[in-house]
Amino acid sequence: MTQEASQETPPETVPEEAAAARQFLISPGPHLWKGLSVSGIMYLVVYALLLPAGAGVYFFGQRALSVMGVSIGVAILTEYLCKKLRGQPFVMDGSTIVTGLLLALVLPPTIALWMVALGSIFAIAVVKEAFGGLGHNIFNPALAARAFMSVSFPMEMTTWVKPMGFGADAVTCASPLSGTSIWQPYDPSTYRALFLGNTAGSIGETSALLIIIGGAILLARGIINWRIPAIYIGVVALLALGFGEDPLFHILAGGLMLGAFFMATDYVTSPLTNRGKIIFAVGLGLLTMIIRRFAGMPEGVCYSILFMNAITPLIDRYTKLKPYGLQKKVAHAS
């Protein structure tokens, strides 16, 4: 939209003095910009994600590093190829790194690397680029890829190991959420493990503490809106209470924390207005608890976010703001 008012050769009628004069840029206002770009936002998200990613490396060692490396590397490569195919410029705007990293964080540490690569290709090529690239995708690419992998590799996607760090052997065990149909007996050590992340689970989902710190950074920088994580987590806690289960356990276990702070807040796939965000978050909480309580799978964060992604355009349609001055009600002080 910007255009320069420069002329290559000034017309002859212009006096010499004016021809030698400086030429100025003409562009529409505003002539100031806040300075926070799309890639700036994306890299901030990457930095915030490094906290749960760090926890993943601490607890799951070399495996975690490999999964992240493959996931991010393949994502960037896929993006590059897609852009080439579509004849568009490839820009490292950071969103691909966010997708690659997020995908790695929601995978079990023992997953085969070729499966990771396949998931990463699916996320970028099918979920993101096939819909038109950043800003046009309907579903969160990382989560859609995770759903795809859960369907394709059901065994590998539900094999969990105890944290082993570097060097130790992986010992398989059940995910903490597998047994949540019953009220968990209060045990401070369970909470501590779930809070710090010293428990079985996906690479980046175990440490609630570091996810909260990362989320708090994004909240403080105004990158994410508090409504989605706060209401999502709040609704889950309330429903857990309603079901007679342990709310704290439901909040800390599984993918809720990572999902609430880093996935449900994805700009592209969440509603525009605050009212829309509230509806979106309430829907997430309801669906998550319905899946956790009644479905034949232990975790519901991934599918509930994908479902709510799908109805985001509908939410946007019905939650438009009431513009200033719409009602011609005149409140005359008389």
Partner: protein, 441 residues
């Protein structure tokens, strides 16, 4: 004692870097130029017809252009000398060509005889409005709407509130700020005239809190002059606080209907520089020939200059020590709503509150990532990203259905957009297309 209201802030709008480089610089008179170029249209509404021709001698303050149209304001010579010719200039907001008179100075600045009223208190409303019109007053906040019309509400519209707008929420601009500090008494005297004309129930003086000194000063002056019906309304600085619609909502909790005017909700808003001009016109009988122009940004010495209309931008910039080597943009007005100029021979006119020199580089427009920032900050609670999307696709009816007329083009959305989408520009295009369509029907 003056009444000071509790400070209010808006949840909408954006925080902008203030960059008020010239806020401590006292107003000084710009040197009188050798010639002035005076466009015959300096207001919203009809252009004026020239009342003088080439070769005529004119005095400072002599009426040289007028129109018999309703929405118009006459134009005066801003120097004494000779009308040396006519030229055409580009009228900045519309891009339309306007005829302009060139006056060559005789170096004496001889004024026409002023006719201050013997007893200003006794002037009738009609006489007051006539004096305001004859003095060529337009809104000096930037919109340049003829003042006497704003002061003549149509029958059936009762004005219960007058707001004096001293917000000056645009970054860099300090002309109103200095005006309040240095010409506080004439400003309040002008406001008194305005309130005599409209006889409202309440008068507010709205000032943003980045001008604490002006708030204190105006409060003291109100007490000193005994204008105790004027209430001081401090506001938290946030762009676009100084927009009429925002201001009315902030202070009174009223919303101007979409497509309506402040007077539809019983309010008239006047800028502080306009109030000073009202004082000059009504109390001193002096026509509008000069105003304070902030010359700022990438100039050596940013200043606030009392400037005769028709002075070229170039001479004002030169008087401030010239512009920086790297500067590539000259803006009339502030950086948010101001208009970029390509010709420095263009004159400062009634609506010129600031000349801003900056360095600027075009940004690449990306696809919308639906971050919702523009929706969050829009002072009119519109959905800028949606409007821009419709406008881009030529779906102007959808723009209309989504209340595009409510937008007053503050540009806060474009300022905040991480994808560098020129949202407000798309909105302006759609509005223009809709207006064209309406005119075609």
């Amino acid at each position: 004692m003056a009444i000071r209201l509790r400070k209010k802030g808006s949840p909408y709008g954006v925080r902008v870097p203030e960059s008020k480089l010239s806020e401590k610089m006292p107003i000084e008179a710009a040197p009188l130029p050798e010639k002035v170029v005076i466009p015959l249209q300096q207001n919203i509404g009809a252009p004026c017809q020239a009342l003088v021709k080439k070769g005529d001698k004119v005095l400072t303050g002599q009426k040289i252009g007028d129109s018999d149209k309703f929405v118009s304001a006459p134009i005066h010579a801003t120097l004494s000398g000779e009308v040396s010719g006519t030229t055409t200039v580009v009228n900045p907001p519309t891009g339309a060509l306007v005829e302009a008179l060139v006056i060559t100075s005789d170096g004496e600045d001889k004024w026409t005889e002023l006719s201050p009223p013997r007893n200003p208190e006794k002037l009738s409303v009609k006489e007051t409005l006539e004096r305001i019109r004859e003095a060529g007053l337009v809104g000096l906040g930037g919109a340049a709407f003829p003042t006497h019309i704003k002061l003549s509400p149509p029958k059936g519209k009762e004005i219960d509130t007058v707001i004096l707008n001293g917000c000056e929420c645009e970054p860099y601009v300090t002309s109103d700020h200095r005006m309040m500090l240095e010409y506080g008494e004439p400003v309040l005297s002008g406001l008194k005239v305005i309130s005599r004309v409209l006889s409202p129930k309440a008068v507010y003086i709205a000032i943003e809190d980045n001008k604490e000194d002006a708030i204190d000063h105006m409060e003291k002056l109100v007490a000193k002059l005994g204008f105790t019906d004027f209430k001081i309304a401090p506001l938290k600085s946030k762009y676009p606080m100084g927009a009429e619609k925002t201001l009315i909502e902030m202070i009174l909790g009223r919303e101007v209907p979409i497509g309506g005017l402040p007077l539809d909700v019983g309010v008239v808003v006047h800028n502080v520089s306009t109030a000073k001009a009202v004082h000059d016109a009504v109390i001193e009988g002096k026509p509008l020939v000069e105003r304070v122009v902030t010359v700022t940004g990438a100039v050596k010495n940013p200043k606030n200059l009392m400037t005769r209309f028709g002075t070229s931008l170039k001479s004002l910039i030169d008087y401030c020590g010239g512009m920086d080597e790297r500067a590539n943009k000259v803006i009339l007005g502030g950086p948010m709503m101001g208009i970029a100029q390509f010709d420095l021979d263009f004159p400062a006119v009634k609506g010129t509150n600031s000349i801003l020199v900056t360095e600027s580089h075009p940004l690449r427009e990306q696809d919308c990532i639906s971050c919702g920032k523009c929706v969050e900050i829009c002072p009119m609670r519109l959905m800028p990203t949606l409007l821009a999307r419709y406008a881009k696709a030529g779906r102007y009816d959808d723009c209309q259905d989504n209340y595009i007329d409510d937008c007053f083009e503050c540009g806060a959305c474009t300022f905040t957009c991480p994808a560098n989408i020129p949202l407000v520009q798309y909105i302006k295009i759609a509005k223009k297309e809709l207006a064209k369509r309406k005119a075609g029907k």
